[in-house]
Amino acid sequence: MDEHLGERLVLNVPLGSLSLRFNLMTMIASWVVMVLLIVLALSLRRGLRQTIEEKPNRAQAMVDAVVGLLQSQLGAGFSSERLARELLPFVGTLFLFVLFLNWISVVPYLGGAPTEDLNIPISLAVMVLVMSHVVASRVHGVGGHVRGLFKPFAFLFPLHLLAELGRTTSHSFRLFGNLFGGGILIAVFSTALVPLVVPVGLNLFFGLFAGLIQAFVFAMLAVIYINNLVNE
């Protein structure tokens, strides 16, 4: 069992002296999630075509509930109404993507959640980092934003860079570590200790509940990081 914990199906593409390594199960699972989200969005959008006097149909009610929840929970973290309106689609999509990536871990034979692979949390965290700097430069202008990095003293610039690095690292490792720890616990319980009823409960807790919490935390921290950088 121990041998299979860290083992993954890897596609190796040699490229001169370097080589590209693709983690197959992660890629398959994340593409499945992407297709699922896009199809869901398109089909729900078709369900929204109705006049305003009608009683809302089921799709409308569901989308209303989800968007309302995202607005009240994530959008409230932004400092200004305009920022919330502009960035809620980005942060909401991040939340839904991470949520479905976590939830797909309860599907058997997919090799756990794709977020248990460090590549996905790191790429999402780097995306948040780039997005926060883009938004901050758009609000303050590129010069103003770069000048803001040298405040209050010019010699604090390396510290600012270090803070960005640490923030992105902790942002990605938080998601990875939580999911990976849960995955290890489920693997140990279901292969070595009690393979019967307990793994179902563990999957319920770590896959569905902790997955929801961690997705919310990831999106909430993205909101806070972007907001802090804009308000600096």
């Binding site: 009240s72 929970q73 409230a76 902790s170 490792f173 938080r174 570590g177 939580n178 720890g181 919310f216």
Partner: protein, 91 residues
């Protein structure tokens, strides 16, 4: 010949000792590193529930701040988990 056997035996004993310390280090790292952030998170929950009981109208904002603060504290435990995983699987 005897010298050789003694060398091999002492090497094996040494590597077994190193292995033992590896497991001990991973276990201690996870035990202490799980215990200390748990106390911190408990403090956060206590204060948040105090605040919620006093002012139920800001319960939503308090809950959000509580979850975010807990997740930031939990990073310490996650770092410990990663250190012990590196100790077990990589080193």
């Amino acid at each position: 010949m005897l010298q050789n056997v003694q060398d091999v035996a002492s090497q094996a004993a040494q590597s077994a000792q190193v292995l033992g310390f590896k497991y001990l280090g991973a276990a201690l790292c996870m035990a202490i590193g799980g215990m200390v952030p748990a106390f911190g998170e408990a403090q956060i929950v206590i204060r948040a529930i105090d605040g919620m009981a006093r002012q139920p109208e800001i319960e939503g904002a308090l809950f959000r701040a509580m979850i975010v603060g807990q997740s930031i504290l939990e990073t310490i435990a996650i770092y410990c988990l990663i250190v012990s995983i590196i100790l077990l699987l990589v080193v």
